[in-house]
Amino acid sequence: MNTQDLQTEEETCGMSRRGFLGLLGKGAVCAGAIVGAVGAGSAIGASEAGSGKRAYQQNDKQFAEAVNNPPKIPEYNWNDHQWAMGVDTTRCIGCLRCMEACKMENSVQMDANHNRTWVERYVYLEGSNTALIDSQADPKNIANAGSETKFRFDNRYKDVKVEKAFFVAKLCNQCEHPSCVEVCPTGATFKSKDGPVLIDTTYCIGCQYCVQACPYGARSFNESRGTAEKCNWCYHRITKGLNPACVEVCPTGSRIFGDRNDPESPVSLFIRNNHVQVLKPEMGNAPNVFYVGLDKEVV
């Protein structure tokens, strides 16, 4: 099946798929609203998220509390786990429900330049040796969606011949040797024993050296809190035995999560059964997000 066939197929079943994804999205939004309602304080519902204002589900104090003191489960011991993630780019359809779920779950600022996860689209036009790259934060995609809070890729390639196209989901790599932790002057960001790199938002001074140091552009700066911001693989969820929000909502199973200490966990199987790669291995950061189906053009 060539790309054009794929496109036609997508067009024909687009409605139903979109409807299904919409439902998923609504589910995530509802979940967010519930969390927000429980959280009270500065909780802003999902309806306000569309207005372009920066929306939060939790107030700063609650957020810090959630990061610093994740819900204790009697049996959770961070020495017993080694979390890892896999991304199968051959399965990603660029629906961006992962982004939506992440923004809702983690109170990420809703504008286009604050993302804990995002999806990149790589398109080789016919006869071209290099890929055209864009993400959902591309101005054209935002203009097409009509808002920064609606995550959509536009259909800009419909009139040109596409040779090869694929999506690559990006998020914090929770590196073994994280540059961000290395450069943090206060130790507010640290590598947890079970894998994720966390931020103590009550101790961060907001110098943004970590934002500079991350080779993957995974960090951003939360102006309202005055502190750094990044993906922590939904630490509050994984320590309860749940999947990160992005993994939970992915309709195609292109994001795989699990414990590497468990040889039968989805991620262990994914790494064992595939030739996996990591992003920018030359940086020496030893990422913990493993990819299948990367391309020479992936940045």
Partner: protein
């Protein structure tokens, strides 16, 4: 839709979505600039104190005060930049030593203490004299500044000089450390191609000396005109030598860095080329244009053995050029580094804010403050090695009278 791109930096090519929010703004441009001026001014003051080069004696103490005034304001751009400025001391209380930034509080604090101590030792004799010559509140202030040490015997003064010299000797590596360290903060980041260079600390250090010497030249000329005092030819020649050496070396090393980048031609070198031709071309023209001007001028001044008024005019101009050129260089490094995307596939174009916490207005205020402080501090501690006269004409007359009486008695 209007709100959508309000605070998104425009870009071409592909950049990571989070990069459209610039982490370090123009405040981080002037931070290394100000510390650079400190380092340069301190080196000039040390040339007299440590190496006993006579030609720098007239401006040695003035350069020392300049270094102090700029050092006091060096951390302020950082404080304005921090997201949580009230937590700034977290980095000092619990430094995370793997971070290049963690030592900042200690390095800057140490250097500030060193400068204050050296100023005190260098000015103690004057302070004691003024505590005696001045009356009223100023007399009391000078009295306090003596810290109870009013011994101005030859032996005590010799100790003062010795201590000031030792402090100055410690100060040279400290100044180099402070500034080389600022270069390391940038150069040690592997994530940014434009910064990640082993030459960065050296470039920062040498350009710091260049801009600092430029500052001392400019201030010395302006102050001399203002005070209507002669500009000493020998001093200007001395400054010329330092300036020429600084400009020549820094240009070679900066050139080497760019040459190396293009010769290695690693992945994304086309984007680096576009960066130079695109977002920072104005900055590059200013940086290199001013440097070439300073180099040519100082070379000509040396070659034709120029003295007097022409030396003053042209050295003043090349000092000013060096200050502007190094400021442009700081911009090109700090802003240019962030305009080149980490993807090496895109370029951003930074537009500074005019008003606000992190804006050009803040930069302007912070840049002016050291000059105002310097003006005030030279009123408090005149560094011109002039005889200290009592402030009241009456007492002056009385003194003259007393002297004449004494002379009469001896006769």
């Amino acid at each position: 839709m209007e709100h959508v791109f309000e605070h998104v930096t425009p870009f071409v090519g592909y950049v990571y979505p989070n990069e459209t929010d610039f982490p370090w703004s123009q405040l981080i441009v002037i931070y290394p600039y100000i510390t650079g001026l400190v380092a340069g001014a301190f080196v000039i003051s040390s040339l007299h104190h440590v190496f006993k080069i006579k030609s720098f004696a007239p401006i040695s103490r003035f350069a020392l005060l300049t270094a102090l005034c700029f050092m006091i304001f060096a951390p302020s751009p950082l404080l304005f930049h921090l997201g949580q400025p009230t937590r700034a001391f977290n980095a000092v209380i619990t430094p995370h030593w793997t971070s290049a930034m963690a030592a900042f509080g200690y390095v800057a604090g140490f250097y500030l203490c060193l400068l204050i101590l050296e100023v005190w030792f260098a000015f103690r004799e004057d302070i004691v004299a003024m505590s005696k010559a001045r009356s009223g509140i100023m007399g009391k202030i000078y009295g306090l500044l003596t810290l109870g040490s009013d011994d101005v015997s030859e032996h005590a003064l010799a100790i003062d000089h010795k201590v000031a010299r030792i402090l100055s000797m410690i100060g040279i590596p400290a100044a180099c450390g402070l500034h080389g360290y600022v270069g390391f903060v940038f150069g040690s980041l592997k994530s940014r191609e434009w910064w990640s260079s082993d030459l960065m600390p050296v470039i920062f250090l040498l350009s710091a000396v260049g801009s600092g010497v430029g500052l001392v030249i400019v201030l010395y000329v302006i102050v001399s005109k203002y005070r209507k005092t002669p500009i000493i030819d020998e001093t200007m020649r001395g400054l010329l030598y330092v300036m020429f050496t600084g400009v020549a070396i820094v240009m070679v090393i900066e050139g080497l860095e760019i040459l190396e980048m293009f010769y290695k031609a690693r992945e994304g070198v086309e984007t680096v080329r576009e960066l130079i031709a695109g977002p920072i071309w104005v900055g590059m023209y200013i940086q290199w244009g001013m440097s070439v001007f300073a180099l040519l001028t100082t070379s000509a001044l040396l070659l034709f053995n120029v003295h007097g008024k022409r030396l003053v005019t042209w050295l003043f101009l090349s000092g000013l050029a060096m200050m502007i050129g190094v400021l442009a260089m700081r911009w090109n490094v700090v802003i240019g580094g962030q305009e080149l995307s980490k993807t090496m596939r895109g370029l951003l174009t930074f537009t500074p804010e005019l008003f606000g916490r992190e804006s050009l207005f803040t930069v302007l205020i912070i840049s002016i403050c050291p000059y105002i402080l310097l003006f005030l501090i030279t009123k408090l501690l005149p560094p011109w090695n002039e005889k200290i006269e009592p402030d009241h004409r009456v007492s002056e007359v009385q003194n003259l009278h007393r002297i004449s009486l004494g002379m009469n008695q001896t006769q």
